[in-house]
């Protein structure tokens, strides 16, 4: 469960996220939608404790992001849009670092990393340094790192970016499995077709403010016959919602 109350983030004169009140149910795949610069990444940065809010509060998995940041970090996995990696490390070394810091034993890290690297068809590259990895391969390593400690909540910012079609399909199925196992998946994306296929719940932000939240089916029902693309365009038109 993720709850935000009046969550706001300002950068000098720019209000990137403005008084956001959102409730995201547990164990579901939730799409975080919005145009470029709508405030999606800033919201994710606040929820993952990367950035403190200017005002307002949020709870992630029952923990306050400001008061209990350490607890929040322990239960989440995050795949950021511009995922930076320590490029001098091999995939194996990076995953070992990620897992050990989260309290996994060496054998646990080895077993889980092997499983996910096989899943993403990266086994033969596991001893290569990340600097030589393509964008898609880096993405897969980041997803693997986010999954190693079996997080309760998974945040993904444009996770399909750079992935080939087969990998996109596999990642989609993986996210559905995670949600079925009780993990809350917050998925930020521009690709509405994928959102329609994967997500059950939608949070739509425009210019930092909430435009709509609820089940995808309800959203569609309210706009009889319209596709998600048309609904998105209608809800993000300039002017008050």
């Amino acid at each position: 469960m993720i709850i935000t109350r009046g969550l706001t983030r300002r950068f000098d004169n720019l209000v990137a996220v403005d008084n956001l009140d959102v409730e995201i149910p547990a164990g579901r795949i939730v799409a975080l939608l919005g145009a470029n610069g709508a405030g999606k990444t800033t919201t994710l940065n606040m929820l993952t404790t990367l950035m403190p809010p200017s005002s307002g509060t949020a709870e992630v998995g029952g923990f306050d992001i400001q008061e209990q940041g350490g607890d929040v970090r322990r239960i989440l996995g995050y795949v950021p849009e511009h995922g930076a990696l320590y490029e001098g490390l091999t995939a194996n070394e990076y995953l070992e670092l990620s897992g050990r810091i989260r309290g996994l034993s060496a054998s646990e890290v080895e077993a889980r990393a092997t499983h996910w690297l096989e899943f993403f068809e990266l086994t033969e590259f596991r001893d290569q340094r990340l600097a030589s990895f393509s964008k898609g391969m880096r993405r897969k390593v980041l997803v693997t790192s986010a999954l190693l400690h079996e997080p309760r909540i998974l945040f993904l910012d444009e996770p399909m970016d750079g992935l080939d079609v087969r990998s996109q399909k596999k990642l989609g199925e993986l996210l559905q499995e995670q949600a079925a196992a009780g993990c809350t998946v917050v998925y930020s994306s521009h690709i509405l077709q994928q959102v329609e296929e994967l997500c059950e719940h939608v949070v739509l932000i425009h210019q930092g403010t909430l435009r709509w939240q609820g089940d995808l089916d309800d959203l569609k029902a309210g706009h009889a016959g319209a596709g998600l693309r048309d609904i998105f365009l209608e809800l993000t038109e300039e002017g008050p919602a």
């Binding site: 950068f11 720019l14 990137a16 940065n45 993952t48 404790t49 990367l50 950035m51 403190p52 350490g70 970090r73 322990r74 989440l76 995050y78 950021p80 511009h82 930076a84 990696l85 320590y86 490029e87 001098g88 490390l89 091999t90 070394e93 990076y94 070992e96 670092l97 990620s98 050990r100 810091i101 989260r102 309290g103 340094r129 600097a131």
Partner: protein
């Protein structure tokens, strides 16, 4: 090894971190640093040469060899004053060595590290991250400390007063000085990071690296007239440096008098360590929004500099290199620091140590000795070294690299750029200094022509070795190693030119002979470079490296 790890774990716990987090983090960061070096080496077209490890070992061996001087002097000439001058010199050299090590490499790396972007959401506290980063910093600092002080300490084990106590006190003092400098500076750097933010601290990192921060050490020399006499009458201040305590302990006559000062030094060091760790652990820039860079104004500094170089850099290739230069002048503060530091240093030497009067007869043929004291050639060599090093071109400029540009013309434009950025300011200072002494314009013109020819030849010699653009934004040990290699290469050429310049000043035959010999050599070097670029099938993108 197990004992060391256990000790390290205890220290980490004592410092408020969790060993189960800090230990793997330290290992990961060390592996990353080693991997980055390998990445850097593998990107270079020219294989072989010295690896970062070899360079590191060589540096330590050189430090150990230098350290032999101190005990030799001490044994050869028993000290008359307390503390002995050699000890003060050793302590000062150690202080500067550790300071420069931190400021040149590890400090910029700390300022520019983007740990938040890699693990900002991992369950790692700021303090734990810092403890791991400090471990990276402490390792080379302790290595330099051991290399520089092991031999003197062993010597004091037998020759100190009293022998063993003097050596132990000196060793402990040096260790404390290392920790004080490292932690104190780390605290200052992190405080700066917190105060000025991520973007500006990255710029500062660029300004400090590659020895540019060395200029800060010269600044007190401007006040030398006041500072040195003060030190002469207040010699007790050296007792505030921890390693000098042993002199007080070793001499019963002065021990009592200086014990309070030694205690103050101890307290100051401990305070620097504690406050440094505290400031560093809480200092973070956090995430920043990336502001959109506005287009530079028509009369921006980068535009004006690039515009001034336009006559020297014609054609499409010249335009491309000017655009790259503009981009780096706006964003790459390491480049700015490197380009600005050596002309500044030259001006500094000219005005601090340069003469104001001389015998007019000495200026009859050349003003090189009177004005430049021959360091002028060294300065130009060092600047050309900066200009022929390693590159990291902004992504936005890659279309230029991929365009159908001529490699040889790009290299020509690169030399023209160095001429404009390095030689022109150097020449202006030279003209001013020589004219002030009363040298004739014909003499000044000849000297400048010779210096220009020499600079061109150094560049033509170095370009085939380091055929890249002169920009860089990476802070790596491997890169520092390659700079040393380039330094050794250009140092060899410098020595030849130094001897040549000396003969040029004092021997009539050489004074005129150089004009017959150097131009053909320049032409041959130019032809060699052109052929090499063509023969190796170099593409523009090899020169304008990522």
């Amino acid at each position: 090894m197990g004992l060391l790890l256990s000790l390290y774990a205890r220290l980490v716990r004592l410092a408020g971190g969790r060993p189960e987090v800090v230990l793997p983090l330290t290992t990961g960061l060390l592996r990353d640093a080693a991997g980055q070096n390998k990445n850097f080496q593998s990107r270079r077209r020219r294989k072989g040469g010295f690896t970062a490890e070899v360079i590191r070992l060589l540096t330590l061996v050189v430090a150990a060899m230098v350290s032999v001087v101190f005990p030799v002097i001490m044994l050869a000439k028993p000290p008359q004053m307390h503390p002995p001058v050699v000890v003060i010199a050793l302590v000062a050299v150690h202080f500067v060595a550790v300071l420069m090590l931190v400021m040149n490499q590890v400090g910029p790396a700390m300022l520019a590290a983007r740990d938040e972007e890699v693990m900002g959401w991992w369950p790692v506290t700021r303090r734990e991250l810092l403890l791991a980063r400090l471990s990276l910093l402490l390792k080379p600092a302790l290595e330099v400390t051991v290399a520089l002080t092991l031999i003197p300490v062993i010597c004091f084990l037998f020759a100190g007063r009293p022998p063993v106590l003097a050596a132990i006190t000196l060793a402990l003092g040096l260790l404390l000085q290392t920790l004080g400098v490292v932690f104190g500076l780390a605290g200052v750097l992190m405080l700066i990071l917190r105060l000025i933010g991520r973007r500006k601290s990255e710029r500062l990192a660029g300004m400090l690296s590659d020895g540019n921060g060395l200029l800060l050490l010269y600044l007190p020399l401007f006040l030398g007239d006041k500072i040195f006499p003060w030190f002469h009458t207040h010699t007790w201040v050296v007792y505030l440096l921890p390693p000098v305590w042993f002199s007080g302990w070793g001499d019963p006559l002065v021990a009592g008098r200086f014990r309070i000062l030694a205690l103050m030094g101890l307290l100051a060091s401990l305070l620097a360590i504690v406050l440094g760790v505290r400031a560093a652990a809480t200092g973070t820039a956090g995430m920043e929004s990336r502001s959109v860079e506005s287009r530079p104004g028509r009369f921006s500094l980068s535009g004006l500099i690039a515009g001034a170089l336009r006559p020297m850099m014609p054609g499409t290739e010249g335009w491309a290199v000017r655009k790259l230069l503009q981009a780096h002048l706006r964003e790459d503060w390491r480049f700015i620091g490197a380009m600005a530091s050596f002309p500044l240093m030259m001006i500094f030497f000219s005005f601090i140590f340069g003469g104001e009067v001389c015998d007019p007869e000495d200026l009859a043929h050349s003003a090189l000795v009177e004005v430049g004291y021959l360091y002028l050639v060294l300065m130009m060599g060092a600047t050309s070294l900066h200009a022929v090093q390693f590159s990291s071109t902004p992504e936005a400029m890659w279309p230029l690299a991929l365009a159908d540009l001529d490699t040889d013309r790009i290299l020509t434009a690169q030399r023209a750029m160095i001429r404009g950025l390095i030689f022109v300011p150097t020449a202006l200072v030279y003209v001013f200094s020589a004219a002030r002494l009363g040298a004739g314009w014909w003499v000044i013109g000849k000297d400048l022509a010779l210096l220009l020819l020499e600079l061109e030849m150094i560049l033509l010699f170095l370009q085939p070795w380091f055929m890249q653009m002169p920009f860089s934004t990476r802070y790596q040990e491997g890169q520092a190693g390659n700079r040393i290699v380039a330094g050794l290469l250009s140092g060899g050429v410098m020595m030849v030119f130094l001897i040549l310049d000396m003969l040029y000043v004092y021997l009539q035959v050489v004074h005129y002979g150089v004009w017959l010999v150097l131009p053909p050599v320049w032409w041959l070097l130019r032809r060699r470079l052109r052929r090499k670029a063509a023969a190796e099938g170099r593409l523009a993108m090899d020169v304008v490296m990522e």
